[in-house]
C-alpha cells in the first residue's frame, strides 16, 4: 500500500470516527489517536524518507491536506457537541420567569408632597422662587399687614391658635406676603414667589376639617401685572393638576388683602361639568382663591401702589388631593396609615 493510499485510508477512518464521536472526550481521543506525535499520520510522515525526492513533496502536501481536513472535522464536531451540550444545559436551566422578583424596599412621597412638588416645578419653570415662611408668625404679619386689623370681621373666617396675644400659628401662607414684599429689591426685577407650607386653624378635626393642613400661596408684583395674567396663571395651575381639557372660571369673592378678589372654579373632572355629587351638581369645583394685591398691602410694605401692582393666589393641596383622588376624610393625610400612603406611589 502506498503512503498515499495509507493516508487516504487513515483519513476516511478518522472522519468516520469523528462523525460517530458523541461526546467531547471521544472527539479528543480521536484527535490524540490520529494527530498525536505517536499517531499513524506521524508514522506515515516518518516513512517519507524512503521516498524519492520527486514523490516526497507530493506526499508531504497530501499528508498536510489530510491532517488539515481531520483537524477541521474535529473542530467542527467539537463545536457541534459543545453547542448541543449548552443547549441541553439551557433547557435544564429553565425557570419560571413569572415568579416575583426579590424585593428592594422602596418608599414613596406623601401625596401632599407630590402635589406641592408638582406645583413648585411648574412655577419654578416660570421664574418663581420658592419661599419657606415661618409656621409661628406674628399676628402683625399674619393679619394686620394683610389688611386685617384687629377686630376685622373677616378674622372670624379663620379661627386661630394663639401662643400669646401677638404670636400665633400662621393661618395662611399669605403670612409670607408682607415679608417677601419688604425684602424684595425691585431694581433686580419682579417679585415672583411661591410659598408652600403648613398652616393651622382652630378647628375640630373631622372628615372635612383639620387643625393642620397645607397651603400654597403665589405672589407676583411688578410694574405691569394684570388680572388677565392672574387668569392665565390660574388656568395653568388647573391644567397642571387636573388636565388641560378643563375650563377655569373666576367669580367674585372677598379677601381683605386683594382687590378685586376672586374664587376660581374648575370644570368638575368627575363629570366633565355635567353635574355630580363631587361638584354638588354645579359642574364646577372651587379650587382656589386669588386677586390683585390690595394697594394697602403694598403701601404697608413700602411699595408705591401707583407704580407697582400684582396678583396673589392661594390653594390647598389637601383639598386638591381630596378632589383629585376622591379622598373622603382629610384626617387620612395626617394619620399615616401605610395602606393609605402606599396608594400614591406615582403621579397621575
Amino acid at each position: 500500500m502506498s503512503l498515499q493510499d495509507r493516508l487516504t485510508e487513515l483519513r476516511d477512518q478518522g472522519l468516520a470516527d469523528i462523525k460517530s464521536a458523541d461526546v467531547l472526550k471521544k472527539v479528543n481521543d480521536v484527535k490524540v489517536d490520529l494527530l498525536g506525535k505517536k499517531g499513524p499520520i506521524t508514522e506515515v510522515l516518518r516513512g517519507m524518507r524512503d521516498l524519492t525526492p520527486e514523490e516526497r513533496p507530493k506526499v508531504g502536501a497530501y499528508a498536510n491536506e489530510v491532517r488539515d481536513k481531520l483537524q477541521s472535522a474535529i473542530d467542527h464536531r467539537r463545536e457541534e457537541l459543545e453547542l448541543a451540550a449548552q443547549n441541553k444545559q439551557l433547557v435544564a436551566e429553565k425557570i419560571d420567569v413569572t415568579l416575583p422578583g426579590r424585593q428592594v424596599p422602596q418608599g414613596q412621597p406623601h401625596v401632599i408632597t407630590q402635589i406641592i412638588t408638582e406645583l413648585e416645578d411648574l412655577f419654578m419653570g416660570m421664574g418663581y422662587q420658592i419661599v419657606d415662611g415661618d409656621e409661628v408668625e406674628e399676628d402683625y404679619y399674619n393679619f394686620e399687614r394683610l389688611n386685617l386689623p384687629k377686630d376685622h370681621p373677616a378674622r372670624d373666617m379663620q379661627d386661630t391658635f394663639y401662643i400669646t396675644k401677638e404670636v400665633l400659628l400662621r393661618t395662611q401662607t399669605s403670612a409670607d406676603q408682607p415679608r417677601s414684599l419688604e425684602n424684595h429689591d425691585f431694581s433686580k426685577g419682579p417679585l415672583k414667589v411661591l410659598s408652600p407650607g403648613r398652616v393651622y386653624r382652630r378647628d375640630t378635626d373631622d372628615a372635612t376639617h383639620s387643625h393642620q393642613f397645607h397651603q400654597i400661596e403665589g405672589l407676583v408684583v411688578d410694574k405691569h401685572i394684570t388680572m388677565a395674567d392672574l387668569k392665565g396663571t390660574l388656568t395653568l395651575v388647573a391644567n397642571e393638576l387636573f388636565g388641560d381639557q378643563f375650563e377655569v372660571r373666576l367669580r367674585p369673592s372677598y379677601f381683605p388683602f386683594t382687590e378685586p378678589s376672586v374664587e376660581a372654579d374648575v370644570t368638575c373632572f368627575n363629570c366633565d361639568g355635567k353635574g355630580c355629587a363631587v361638584c354638588k351638581q354645579t359642574g364646577w369645583i372651587e379650587v382656589l382663591g386669588a386677586g390683585m394685591v390690595h394697594p394697602r398691602v403694598l403701601e404697608m410694605s413700602g411699595i408705591d401702589p401707583e407704580v407697582y401692582g400684582g396678583f396673589a393666589f392661594g390653594l390647598g393641596p389637601d383639598r386638591f388631593a381630596m378632589l383629585k383622588y376622591g379622598v373622603d376624610d382629610i384626617r387620612n393625610f395626617y394619620l399615616n396609615d401605610v395602606r393609605f400612603l402606599s396608594q400614591f406611589y406615582k403621579k397621575g
Binding site: D134, L169, H211, S253, Y334
Partner: protein, 805 residues
C-alpha cells in the same frame, strides 16, 4: 341671607329660572349656597274645607271630619289636632300624598274609623320647627277663608316660592337686604328697580319729643346715629299671613305684628330696628352709653348677663334695658299687653358690636348686619317704614316727629379712576363708554373728564372707597369670563431651589430610595411628647388656649409623631412599617416668644422592611439596618468632616445600650437607635428603631470639595487579620488603630466577620478585617506590605490586647 324670588319680583322684572338667577348672582356678586324650593318633594297636598267635625266615639281627642277637597264628595279624615273645627280651611294630605320628611300618607283606619288622608300642621310639610309661629305650633294650620278647596296648598303659605340662599362675603353687607340685592341685580340685568316707598301718617295731636327723650353719652365713633319714633295705641297680635310668609321664607320665626314688622324692615333695608315697650321706660327717657363694670342685664332669652365695659347699652333712666345692636332686655320686651312702642333706628360701631356679640356669644340678624356695616343713608327711612308698618298692622298711631339722640351727615364717597389705569390693572382694552355704562348700571352718578371718571358712590355701597374697589365693580360686571387670559411679561427671573431647598428635596428622595415612606404628622402634640426625643434641651412652645391637651404644644422632635403613626398602623394590624418625616421642630429662643424653627428629618422602622416571600425570609429590622440607612444618607451629603457614632445613654426614651449619638466632626447632629422598651409600651408599638437628624445643621456643614482621584494602575494587595478581643473594645476603636498604624499605602479597612458564639471565651469576641494596600505610583513590594501589616498586628496586641488568630 335668604332671598325670596317672589319678593324680588316686587323690585325687578325677572322671569328667568331661579337656578339661572342664582348662577348669575354667584358669577357676578356673591356665592350662592343653593336654591331652596319649600314644596320640593311634596305631592297631593291641597286645600280642604272642613264641612263637619264630630268627636271620635272611641277616643277622647280624635275628631272625624268630612272635608271638601274639591271633589264631588267630601272625604273622611280623622284628625287629632285640638284646633280642628267645622268651617275651617285646612291643609289636606290626600291618600298617596307626600308630605315633609319624605313621608307618604296612606289611607288608614284610626281606632276603627277610616281616614282618607291627614290634616297637616306646618312642620308636617317640612317647615323647620324654629320657623313655625308659636300660636300655630300646637295644631293644624288654618288657611285663609278664601282658599279654594282642592287647589294645591303651596301658594297659600309661600311654599311655591323659590329662595336663593346667598353666602354674603364680609365686604358685601349691602346684600344682606332686599333693597341691596335688588340694586345689585338691577346693575347685573340693566334694569331700573322699583324701590319701596314709605307712606307714613303722623298723628298731629301727639308730638314724639313731648313724651320721649334720648341722650347719647357714648362717643360718635361708637354711636354715629341714634333715632327713635313713638307709636301709640298699638294692639299686639299675630301678623297677617303675607307678612308671616315673608318672615318664615327669610328664615325667621313670625312672633307678632310689631316684631315681625321690624324684622321685615330689617330684611328690606338691612337696618336693624328695636322695639321697646314704651311703658317700661322711666318717664320716656332713653340714654345710650357703655356699660359699667358690675352691671347686669337680663336679655330676651332669659339669660342674666354680666356686662363688660366694652358693651354698648341702651338705658332708661340710666338702667340698662338693651344690649345695643345685639339683643333686647327682658324688662322692655314687647308683650301682648304692650300698647305703645318706642322704636329705635340706630347705627352702632361694627367693632363694638362684634366684640359684644362675641363676648356674649349672641349672634343675631341684627349683630351680623352691624358687624358688616349698614347703609347710613337709609336708617331714618327704615325707621319711618317700620313705624308706618307697625301702625298699619296694629291699628296704632305714629306720634309726630323723630326723636334724635344723635344724627350724622352722611355723604357719598367720591372716587376717581382713569380708564387707562383700569385697563392697565385688568389687562383689558375697555372703551370709555363701556366703563361709563357699567357705572350707569350700578346707578353711581359719574362725570368724565378726558379719560378720568369721577364716580359718586351712594352710601348704600359703603364697601367702595378706593380706585381698586371700582376696578372690581367694573371687572365683575364686565364679566370675568370676558377677561383675556395671559401670563406675566416683563424682566425674566430665574426660578430654582436654593441649596437648602435642594438638599431637603434630595433628602426626601434618598429616604424613599432607602425604603422609607414619607409621613406627615401633626406639629401640635402633648407637652410630654413635644419635648421627648429632643436633640437639645429646650422649653416647649405652648398654645395659649388649646382645644385639647392632645394638641397643645409644638413638637421639639419628629420621632414622637412617627411613633404615633406606627401605633396607628399597629392598631390596624400593620406591623411592618418604615416611615420618615421631614419637617419643622420648634426650639425656644431666649427672650423671644417665637421659637426657632429647625428642619429635622427622622425615621422609624418596625417589623421587617422585606417581607417573607417565596425565596426570602422576612428579616426583622435591627439597629444595623437603621444605621445603614442613616449612614448611606449621610454619605450622599458629601460632608467634609467625618461622621462618627458614639454610644449614648443620655436619651431617656431610647435603649441605653443600643443608641448612638451621631457626630459630624465634633458637632452633634442627631441620634440613632432602638427605642426604650418602656417607650415602646407607652406608645403601644413593638420593637422600633428610630433616628432623628438636625437637617439644618447638616445643610450648614461644609461639604467635601469634589475632586477626581486618578485610579491607580497598580494592583492592590490584601491581608486579613482575625483577632480575639475584649467585648468592650469597639469596632470604631479597632478601625481607628488600624488606620493610624496602617502606613501610607493602607487604602481601606473592611470588617468581614463578627463572632461571639461557641469557641469564643466569655467576655471576648472574634473580629476579622481585610486590609487593602495600594500605591498610586508603583507596584507594592510584598516585603514592604508584610512589614506594615506586622506593625498593625503588634499595635493591636499591645494597645488593645488583641489575640491574633
Amino acid at each position: 341671607m335668604r332671598i325670596s324670588y317672589a319678593w324680588l319680583r316686587d323690585y325687578l322684572k325677572l322671569d328667568i329660572p331661579a337656578d339661572e338667577l342664582a348662577e348669575k348672582i354667584e358669577r357676578t356678586a356673591v356665592e350662592v349656597d343653593g336654591v331652596i324650593r319649600p314644596s320640593d318633594g311634596l305631592k297631593k297636598v291641597v286645600v280642604g274645607d272642613v264641612l263637619e267635625c264630630v268627636p271620635h266615639p272611641d277616643s277622647d281627642h280624635l275628631h272625624i271630619c268630612q272635608v271638601d277637597v274639591g271633589e264631588a264628595d267630601p272625604i273622611q279624615i280623622v284628625c287629632g289636632a285640638p284646633n280642628v273645627a267645622a268651617g275651617e280651611k285646612v291643609i289636606v294630605a290626600l291618600p298617596n300624598s307626600w308630605i315633609g320628611g319624605h313621608t307618604k300618607i296612606k289611607r288608614s283606619k284610626m281606632r276603627g274609623v277610616v281616614s282618607n288622608g291627614m290634616l297637616c300642621a306646618l312642620d308636617e310639610l317640612g317647615f323647620d320647627e324654629k320657623l313655625v309661629p308659636k300660636e300655630v305650633a300646637d295644631g293644624i294650620f288654618i288657611l285663609p277663608a278664601d282658599a279654594k278647596p282642592g287647589e294645591p296648598v303651596f301658594s297659600y303659605i309661600g311654599m311655591d316660592d323659590e329662595i336663593i340662599d346667598m353666602s354674603v362675603t364680609p365686604n358685601r353687607g349691602d346684600m344682606l337686604s332686599m333693597n341691596g340685592t335688588a340694586h345689585e341685580l338691577a346693575a347685573i340685568y340693566d334694569q331700573k328697580p322699583t324701590m319701596p316707598t314709605v307712606e307714613l301718617h303722623e298723628d298731629a295731636t301727639e308730638l314724639a319729643d313731648d313724651q320721649l327723650s334720648v341722650t347719647v353719652q357714648a362717643d360718635e365713633q361708637a354711636v354715629p346715629m341714634y333715632k327713635m319714633r313713638l307709636i301709640k295705641n298699638v294692639t299686639i297680635k299675630p301678623s297677617p299671613l303675607w307678612l308671616q310668609i315673608r318672615i318664615w321664607n327669610a328664615g325667621m320665626r313670625p312672633i307678632n305684628n310689631v316684631v315681625d314688622a321690624t324684622n321685615y324692615i330689617l330684611m328690606q333695608y338691612g337696618q336693624p330696628l328695636h322695639a321697646f315697650n314704651f311703658d317700661s321706660l322711666t318717664a320716656g327717657q332713653v340714654n345710650v352709653r357703655f356699660a359699667k363694670a358690675g352691671e347686669q342685664l337680663t336679655t330676651l332669652d332669659g339669660e342674666k348677663r354680666d356686662l363688660a365695659e366694652t358693651d354698648l347699652v341702651i338705658c332708661s333712666d340710666d338702667r340698662p334695658i338693651c344690649l345695643a345692636g345685639t339683643m333686647g332686655g327682658l324688662d322692655s320686651e314687647v308683650t301682648d299687653k304692650t300698647t305703645a312702642i318706642a322704636l329705635e333706628g340706630a347705627i352702632f360701631d361694627a367693632v363694638k358690636i362684634r366684640k359684644t356679640a362675641h363676648n356674649h356669644n349672641l349672634h343675631s340678624e341684627a349683630s351680623m348686619r352691624y358687624e358688616r356695616g349698614i347703609d347710613h343713608s337709609a336708617t331714618e327711612t327704615a325707621l319711618d317704614a317700620a313705624a308706618a308698618l307697625i301702625a298699619e298692622l296694629s291699628d296704632g298711631t305714629v306720634a309726630t316727629g323723630v326723636v334724635v339722640g344723635r344724627d350724622e351727615d352722611v355723604q357719598p364717597a367720591v372716587v376717581k379712576i382713569s380708564l387707562s389705569r383700569l385697563n392697565h390693572v385688568l389687562g383689558t382694552e375697555l372703551s370709555l363708554d363701556t366703563v361709563a355704562d357699567i357705572f350707569r348700571r350700578l346707578d353711581f352718578p359719574t362725570t368724565i373728564d378726558g379719560e378720568t371718571y369721577t364716580v359718586t358712590v351712594p352710601a348704600r355701597r359703603w364697601d367702595i372707597h378706593i380706585p381698586a374697589d371700582l376696578i372690581e365693580e367694573v371687572a365683575r360686571l364686565y364679566g370675568y369670563d370676558n377677561l383675556p387670559s395671559t401670563l406675566p411679561t416683563g424682566q425674566p427671573t430665574i426660578g430654582k431651589l436654593n441649596e437648602t431647598q435642594q438638599i431637603i428635596r434630595d433628602s426626601r428622595k434618598l429616604m424613599e430610595s432607602a425604603g422609607l415612606t414619607q409621613a406627615i404628622s401633626y406639629s401640635l402634640t402633648t407637652e410630654a411628647k413635644a419635648k421627648s426625643f429632643a436633640l437639645h434641651a429646650s422649653e416647649v412652645t405652648k398654645l395659649d388656649f388649646p382645644m385639647s391637651s392632645e394638641r397643645s404644644a409644638l413638637r421639639l422632635n419628629l420621632i414622637s409623631g412617627l411613633l404615633d403613626d406606627l401605633a396607628y398602623n399597629n392598631a390596624r394590624k400593620e406591623h411592618d412599617v418604615a416611615l420618615y418625616e421631614e419637617g419643622r421642630v420648634f426650639f425656644s429662643q431666649p427672650e423671644q416668644v417665637r421659637p426657632k424653627e429647625v428642619e429635622h428629618i427622622a425615621g422609624a422602622i418596625t417589623g421587617s422592611m422585606v417581607q417573607t416571600a417565596w425565596d426570602t425570609e422576612a428579616t426583622p429590622v435591627d439597629f444595623y439596618q437603621i444605621k445603614g440607612i442613616v449612614a448611606g444618607y449621610l454619605k450622599s451629603l458629601a460632608l467634609a468632616a467625618p461622621v462618627s457614632y458614639a454610644t449614648s445613654t443620655t436619651h431617656p426614651e431610647m435603649h441605653p445600650g443600643r443608641t448612638a449619638d451621631i457626630y459630624v466632626g465634633d458637632d452633634l447632629v442627631g441620634f440613632v437607635g432602638e427605642i426604650h422598651p418602656a417607650t415602646a409600651k407607652a406608645y403601644k408599638v413593638r420593637e422600633t428603631y428610630v433616628f432623628e437628624l438636625d437637617l439644618d445643621a447638616l445643610i450648614a456643614q461644609p461639604k467635601e470639595h469634589q475632586q477626581y482621584q486618578p485610579i491607580s494602575k497598580f494592583p492592590s494587595i490584601t491581608r486579613d487579620v482575625a483577632m480575639l478581643i475584649d467585648n468592650q473594645v469597639t469596632n470604631a476603636a479597632i478601625v481607628k488603630l488600624i488606620t493610624d498604624k496602617g502606613g501610607a499605602h493602607l487604602q481601606k479597612v473592611q470588617l468581614f466577620d463578627v463572632y461571639n458564639g461557641k469557641h469564643v471565651p466569655a467576655g471576648k469576641k472574634s473580629l476579622a478585617y481585610t486590609l487593602t494596600y495600594q500605591d498610586q505610583n508603583g507596584t507594592l513590594v510584598d516585603d514592604e506590605i508584610t512589614k506594615a501589616f506586622e506593625k498593625v498586628l503588634t499595635a493591636l496586641t499591645d494597645t488593645l490586647g488583641a489575640e491574633i488568630r
